[in-house]
Amino acid sequence: MKPHRTLCLALALTAWMTTSLMGQTVGEHGYPYAPDKPLAGELEIVGSTLMQQVGSLWLSKFQETHPDVQGTIDCRGSESSLPQMTSAKPILGMLSRKISDEELSQLAQSTKQKFQTVIVGYDILAVIVHPDNPIEALPWNWGNESLWNQGSGKRVARWSDLGDATKLGKDQFQIYLPSKEHGLRSMAERFLMRDLDASQVAIQELPNPADISDAVSKDQASIALVSATRAKSKKVKPVPIQVSGTLAVSPLDSQCIAEGYPLVRELSLFFAVDDGGARNPLVEEFLAFVLSRSGQRIMTYDGFLPLTPSSLEEQREKLGWEVIK
């Protein structure tokens, strides 16, 4: 290579390095946690067992800034958090499923209090199959909110409806479901079972997600729904979901929410508000922390995704906090 070419190439490479790597300011999205002063008091966190460890990490980090706050966590499941909300202490419920309007109004009637919910993060769910399964993506029908009912009248019922099933040994879906008491069960029923003819598929219940992943890794015709964190093992194959004509989004894509990935479980906090909509000051401060950069970062520690920038702003607006764009 002639010297001037070498020089130009070196110059070009340097330019690329300089512009792409150097002097670039980077930062996470979101709001800093900027408290006014250390608070004191008792705070109770109840609800979802799925969110228990995140709740514990939130509380422990919150107490670094507010050492005089005594916190307790008592998680017996999203369902059981509702009756616990009558406590006289400042109390927050963690929910790994949507609370219905009916449940909220019943709760309001029985406790003579009003309640509010905010979304604080996401549990991404993944359809997993055996690694040898040739399927590349599953189409999502937005109208029916279904993987199997594509609106054309014909429903998917067997592997051969989705392509070549010869490698799978059998054409019938082998579905592994978590047991009824597991929080993931209702999600599996909603996303995996709806619109499938139960008489055409084989279903087996297993007690927990680790068993389900193991079973899928051994059965070529199997399919199951697990949290995306549990789909990172090489023993199973997470299936991207085709959300539009050409766009298939992987559950392992950290931007999947923004790209419209539909198999998502919203994680929320709920709490009492007074007649004027005001919240207990300790609850308010804890919410400010959870929705700050620090609080959102903690979601990642236990395998969840933080809120997207626009969802974060939506939640802040819902709480009546000033949102500057």
């Binding site: 150097m22 980077v26 680790a210 990172k232 395998g303 500057i324 764009k325």
Partner: protein
């Protein structure tokens, strides 16, 4: 001379231009991170920039409401970019560089997201605004050089240039130091690649709405590499955020003791001895997989901010992902955590003791693991 006058070498200029463009837009590729299942084959000891779905923190300075016709401005922040380009309460932003914003077919297209996206890709954006006063449509350009007023300007100098080289990262933070027990109340932070030219100049923007009038603030800096702090300011330098664009000169000292030490009997830790590789080794040992890009980025950041390695180990051992591997068998879980921390098999009595303790802690595994860590000294 003849060779120099032969302009054939000009053919290489397009290559230079393409590289330049690729460099500028390279950010787009970095915005998108995919955690593929085969992340296990990733190279060790690589640096990943922090996750940043919206790389720019650019704010127009409006409070707004999304409607089907666009984004209605409710309030304009005094001194903001919005005020300077003439926006007023009641105006409606219809599009950002041709992209509709507000409520479109039942879905919210956020004006802040759209401006950040256009600003990052094109360096500027054009707002189509319905002027509330005269009912006219007007195109208003917004440029990236219209930076917010609230920023700390300064320089960073190092006492030891030998141990610092380009590709290391300089972290800057404005912290609230009003209360002595507050160590991590950070109101603004930024990360710059070390250029190798000293002193390094910086501009650290902050959101003036989070600055409280009677609070005291300080700025601190550190240079880190793969989650390992190499140099840092000896103590935070006070900064007065009440004044206009305060200036500070920071000096970095070498760090003698590194944050955290490799876990004794460290199992499958990375061979490099770098903290983030140690974390990756624990993921492989305890969760059966490597760190995803997102996790690597988060832990790098936490390590560079001084989070001790043993706390990260505790987070892994308390995690739902690790706990699930024991399929609900609490005794097996406790025995495994015990074995990892104490380096020996627990007696049945010890398992029983920790099982009772976990029940007392209402299944708060992180607390139990932290207690075990304190007791075992690991």
């Amino acid at each position: 001379m003849q060779r120099f006058l032969n302009f054939a070498w000009l053919r290489w200029i397009p290559c230079f231009v393409i590289c330049l463009i690729q460099g500028v837009h390279g950010q787009d590729f970095r915005d998108r991170e995919t955690d593929f299942p085969n992340a296990g084959v990733q190279a060790q000891s690589r640096y990943l920039p922090p996750i940043q779905p919206t790389p720019s923190q650019f704010r127009l300075g409006i409070q707004s409401r999304n409607t089907a016709t666009g984004v209605v401005i409710l309030r304009v922040v005094p001194g903001s970019v919005a005020q300077r380009i003439g926006l007023e309460a009641g105006d409606t932003i219809l599009t950002v560089s041709g992209y509709q914003v507000g409520m479109v077919e039942g879905r919210i297209y956020d004006v802040g997201d759209e401006i950040s996206r256009r600003m990052n890709r094109q360096g500027s954006a054009t707002l189509l605004v319905l002027n509330n006063r005269n009912g006219q449509l007007v195109n208003i350009p917004v440029e990236t050089d219209v930076a917010p007023d609230a920023a700390v300007l300064g320089t960073v100098m190092t006492n030891d240039r030998q141990s610092v080289f380009p590709s290391m990262m300089l972290d800057l933070r404005i912290i609230d130091v009003t209360h002595p027990q507050w160590r991590d109340v950070t109101i603004a932070e930024s990360q710059l690649a070390v250029t190798g030219r000293w002193p390094m100049s910086f501009r650290l923007d902050y959101d003036p709405t989070v600055v409280r009038p009677n609070h005291r603030y300080a700025i601190e800096a550190q240079i880190s590499y793969l989650g390992q702090v190499i140099q840092r300011t000896a103590s935070p330098v006070p900064v007065n955020l009440a004044g206009a664009s305060p200036r500070v000169a920071l000096k970095l000292d070498s760090v003698q003791s590194l944050p955290g030490q490799p876990f004794p009997g460290g199992g499958a830790g990375g061979g490099s001895g770098l903290p983030v590789d140690q974390v990756d080794g624990w993921y492989l040992q305890f969760l059966g997989r490597n760190l995803t890009d997102r996790e690597r980025s988060v832990w790098q950041r936490e390590l560079s901010r001084g989070k001790p390695l043993d706390e990260i180990l505790g987070t892994i051992l308390g995690s739902s992902e690790y706990h699930e591997r024991f399929r609900g068998n609490q005794r097996a879980y406790i025995a495994d955590v015990f074995q990892s921390l104490y380096g020996r098999t627990p007696t049945p009595q010890e398992i029983q003791r920790w099982q009772t303790r976990l029940a007392q802690l209402r299944d708060d595994r992180f607390k139990m693991v932290r207690e075990m860590q304190r007791e075992s000294g690991r």
